[in-house]
């Protein structure tokens, strides 16, 4: 089963009397262990696509299926639960919660779910952090971590609920080439190791070789 299917997805916004088309009849399929790079210039619609795939935005038209979930008609409440349980996000700016430790940041989605076994959740968070090379930093606050360590915690947070799909937003936009490569290697390595699918949005074509496939987007339209 594909990790993500978009069928003729269209997203429009109204600006006064003008209709702005952010995404135009986008059809895309991402296999369950595939890493897809979505490249395009600023304003091309790539982040809109990522937001729709992650249940952050609802499409104006078309169908969005993530794993076995057709989220096209999901309510806001259903989308909240979906985001908590079915997808993982790695944001452009690391955006960790500043007053939570590395472990608590990784556990946040599970804790928000409210019904997780705390002991098991904690053990999984510790294991993830160990795998990410942060075994000794579990109780550190983000302010006590380096930029790279924070990035790894954010990746841990995305992987915590064992999602079938990871959505990564511009992971290298603020980094130099060397650091960008390190971050991409880390993300791709972790995603591959878990045989998870990922969509990585980037405008940096130097990073596309990390992906299994690259799709371009321009003016809201996808091109292979």
């Amino acid at each position: 089963m594909p990790a993500l299917q978009l069928e003729n997805v269209r997203k429009t916004y109204q600006s006064g009397d003008t209709e702005i088309v952010a995404l135009d009849s986008a059809t895309l399929e991402v296999a369950d262990d595939e890493i897809l790079a979505l490249v395009g210039p600023s304003g091309s619609g790539k982040t809109t696509l990522l937001s729709i795939a992650g249940g952050l935005l609802s499409p104006t038209d078309g169908a969005v299926i993530v794993g076995s979930h057709d989220i096209t008609e999901y309510s806001a409440k259903q989308l909240t639960k979906f985001r908590r349980e079915e997808v993982g996000f790695v944001f452009q700016t690391v955006n960790l919660v500043p007053f939570l430790t590395a472990r608590e940041n990784v556990m946040i989605a599970a804790e928000l779910g409210g019904h997780a076994n705390e002991k098991a959740t904690k053990a999984r968070a510790d294991q993830l952090l160990e795998e990410l090379g942060l075994g000794r930093r579990t109780d550190n606050l983000p302010s006590q971590l380096s930029g790279g360590e924070r990035q790894r915690v954010a990746i841990g947070r995305a992987l915590m609920n064992e999602p079938k799909l990871i959505l990564v937003d511009e992971p290298t936009s603020a980094l130099d080439t060397q650091l960008g490569n390190q971050v991409m290697e880390l993300i791709v390595g972790e995603v591959k190791r878990r045989s998870t699918a990922a969509v990585i949005v980037t405008h940096d074509t130097r990073m596309t070789h990390y992906a299994d496939r690259t799709v371009s987007i321009l003016d809201g339209k996808l091109a292979a």
Binding site: A22, S42, G43, S44, G45, K46, T47, T48, L50, S51, G54, L56, L57, K77, T80, K81, R83, R84, E85, F89, F91, Q92, T93, N95, V97, P98, F99, L100, E104, I108, A109, E111, L112, G113, L141, R157, D169
Partner: protein
């Protein structure tokens, strides 16, 4: 809720200024309330202690105990009104009293009465008095022979009673003839004949409606105004004015408390909009984030209240004895509930902003 408590614990410095401001407002509220209560209790004890439901004043007195006179004939008419079970005469003389061993003159209210009231036993023998406990601050002790009024009438303190003062003057409860003598010699122009009182307090028969009986009394005498006990208390000069003035100041202080919390949480919400967007993106519901806000509001307010209450009580303990400051349990509860409600209303200003935070803002649409 865990999220809220963790932030409070680990980012406590962020909350300290608001907590401190709220604590100071709590101190202000408790001291203002304490002064209001102290003034009220110290002025009204003599009337609040009455067990009877109604107080009868002469028409011309305009609801003043001091100006009122009820003669024997009027009292007989009152006692003949259906629904009247019994009556008790009451009179007050405001006089200076010399306390043995003290150089300053104590302000006292000599109260003549006929039967036991709440907290005050039956009248003592002539020349003796039950003294209000507040007079201890003026050096009064049991067994002291006080010299009352300009002619220094000797009155022996038989014992002490509590919360019975009148117009901030320490009460000396005496039998009616002792009161008449003191009134006669201290205010010759205000002297009353034997049997005459300033007011008469009416106990209504069981099942009788006090309001109906009050109207019947005034109709029967044609020369009286009958008030309920509560009305009589509020008719004491200055009480209504004090109450409304303090109530307005207290109201404004509650408003400021709400404003402090509103501004703080509005700024906090603004500052962490991006973080709240991320939390929503990873699956936090608006309800969970609102609960976080409410929890923090309650915790900040409760801690501020405890600090403020401790400071206010400490200040009340070191306040000079002549400052009418009384922090009652009911006032403490009122301030606690009031501050909490004001804080929650203030915090609720940020609700809309939190609910409207778009989870998509964590990514930033449009690129």
């Amino acid at each position: 809720m865990r999220l809220a408590l963790r932030e409070l614990r680990r980012s406590r410095r962020k909350f300290v200024p608001t907590m401190a401001a709220l604590a100071l407002l709590v101190v202000l509220l408790l001291l203002l309330g304490g002064l209001l209560d102290g003034l009220f209790l110290g002025s009204t004890g003599a009337l609040r202690s009455q067990q009877s439901e109604l107080a009868v004043y002469s028409d011309s007195a305009r609801d003043s105990v001091i100006r009122s006179r009820i003669d024997l004939a009027t009292r007989a008419t009152i006692e003949g009104v259906p629904g009247v079970a019994s009556t008790n005469g009451l009179g007050v003389a405001l006089v200076g009293t010399r306390v043995p061993g003290e150089t300053t003159i104590a302000d006292t209210a000599v109260i003549g009465y006929e039967g036991a009231v709440n907290g005050v036993p039956d009248p003592p023998p002539p020349g003796q008095a039950w003294a209000d406990r507040s007079l201890k601050a003026d050096g009064v002790s049991e067994g002291d022979v006080l010299k009352v009024g300009p002619t220094r009438i000797p009155v022996t303190v038989k014992g002490f009673v509590s919360d019975t003062n009148f117009l901030q003057q320490g009460a000396l409860w005496v039998e009616p003839d002792t009161w008449r003598t003191i009134l006669d010699q201290s205010r010759p122009g205000a002297a009353v004949d034997p049997g005459v009182f300033q007011t008469v307090w009416v106990q209504v028969e069981p099942g009788a409606d006090p309001a109906t009986v009050a109207k019947a009394i005034d109709a029967a005498t044609g020369t009286t105004t009958t008030l309920t006990r509560q009305e009589a208390v509020l008719a004491i000069p200055g009480i209504k004015e004090q109450k409304s003035t303090f109530t307005q100041i207290i109201g404004v202080t509650f408003f400021v408390s709400g404003l402090v919390v509103a501004l703080f949480f509005a700024l906090l919400t603004l500052e962490r909009t991006a973080m709240l967007g991320v939390l929503k993106a990873v699956g936090a519901s608006s309800r969970q984030l609102v609960t976080t806000l409410a929890t923090q509001t309650v915790v900040v307010t409760v801690i501020a209240y405890v600090i403020g209450a401790v400071i206010a009580v400490a200040l009340s303990l070191v306040a000079p004895a002549d400052v009418p400051l009384t922090i009652t349990a009911s006032r403490a509860v009122f301030v606690a509930v009031g501050v909490l409600v004001a804080a929650l209303v203030g915090g609720a200003i940020s609700l809309r902003r939190i609910i409207r935070i778009d989870p998509a803002s964590a990514i930033g649409t449009g690129t």
